[in-house]
């Protein structure tokens, strides 16, 4: 993927993430409690591996770290992405650098290694089972 395409996508994704958080903060849940964006949950009524991430991030914003882990540990990854990526993106754009693009490529290669991939898949599956157990 080219640098500019990646940066546009990341900027869009981060904006969408913050808008989503703001909407939830404003209480979109209260207006319509059945409001749900997860396709898997809509269709099968089973939560997906990342269901509960919004609640996790909200709990983090309220300083409730135990709830963050309880709702979804992946929330922590999302929080770090939402904090780090926009800053890194801005620094890269100001310096006309492509360090983020470079490390994105390296991260992709790292995740594609067999051992790492298997461990990552097992973690995702374990989290999925836990999500179903919790009945999110």
């Amino acid at each position: 993927m080219s640098r500019n395409k990646l940066y546009t996508l990341l900027a869009l994704a981060c904006t969408a993430g913050y808008v989503w958080l703001y909407l939830n903060y404003k209480g979109i849940d209260d207006i319509n409690s059945s409001f749900n964006v997860c396709l898997i949950k809509q269709v099968t009524d089973i939560p997906c591996p990342s269901c509960g991430s919004t609640r996790a991030v909200e709990a983090f914003l309220h300083g409730d770290f135990i709830s963050t882990i309880y709702w979804n540990p992946f929330g922590l990854i999302l929080i770090s992405i939402l904090i780090i990526i926009p800053v890194w993106l801005l620094i890269d754009l100001i310096r006309r650098n492509d360090s983020l693009h470079h490390y994105y490529g390296k991260a992709e290669i790292f995740l594609r290694k067999r051992k790492i991939a298997i461990i990552a898949i097992l973690i995702v599956l374990a989290n999925w089972v836990w999500n179903i157990e919790k009945g999110l």
Binding site: A13, V37, C38, C48, L78, E108, L111
Partner: protein, 111 residues
């Protein structure tokens, strides 16, 4: 390379590439020498139809993106419930093109 061999390759593998790329691929292959023929024959390309099926069934988990080698975007889809469900639906329409682009990259890497 022999025009007959090139046309044979295009006939067998044309569906793995975007139609507007096929002409370029043909011209490029014609300029190559015959030693590359065996290597090109052994290349395995991803079928766009397969990735469409995977995208329809497990697109929300990002498995379609993982499959074609877009690991970063796959992780992105996985962590956000398929981009709040929107990206998953958008990818139903984009994934075939993305697979063909990846196939072109693979061919270019091999040449």
């Amino acid at each position: 390379m022999d025009a007959q061999k090139v046309d044979m390759f295009i006939m067998a593998n044309g569906k793995f590439f975007e139609s507007h790329h096929v002409v370029q691929i043909r011209e490029k292959l014609l300029t190559l020498d015959d030693t590359k023929w065996v290597m090109i024959q052994t290349l395995q390309f991803k079928d766009p139809t397969t990735s469409l099926i995977v995208s329809l069934l497990a697109g929300t988990l990002g498995i379609d993106r993982f499959m074609i080698g877009d690991t970063g975007m796959g992780v992105g889809k996985l962590l956000t419930c398929g981009g709040f469900g929107i990206w998953a639906v958008v990818d139903w329409f984009l994934i075939m093109g993305a697979t063909r682009e990846k196939n072109l990259l693979k061919l270019q890497m091999a040449l």
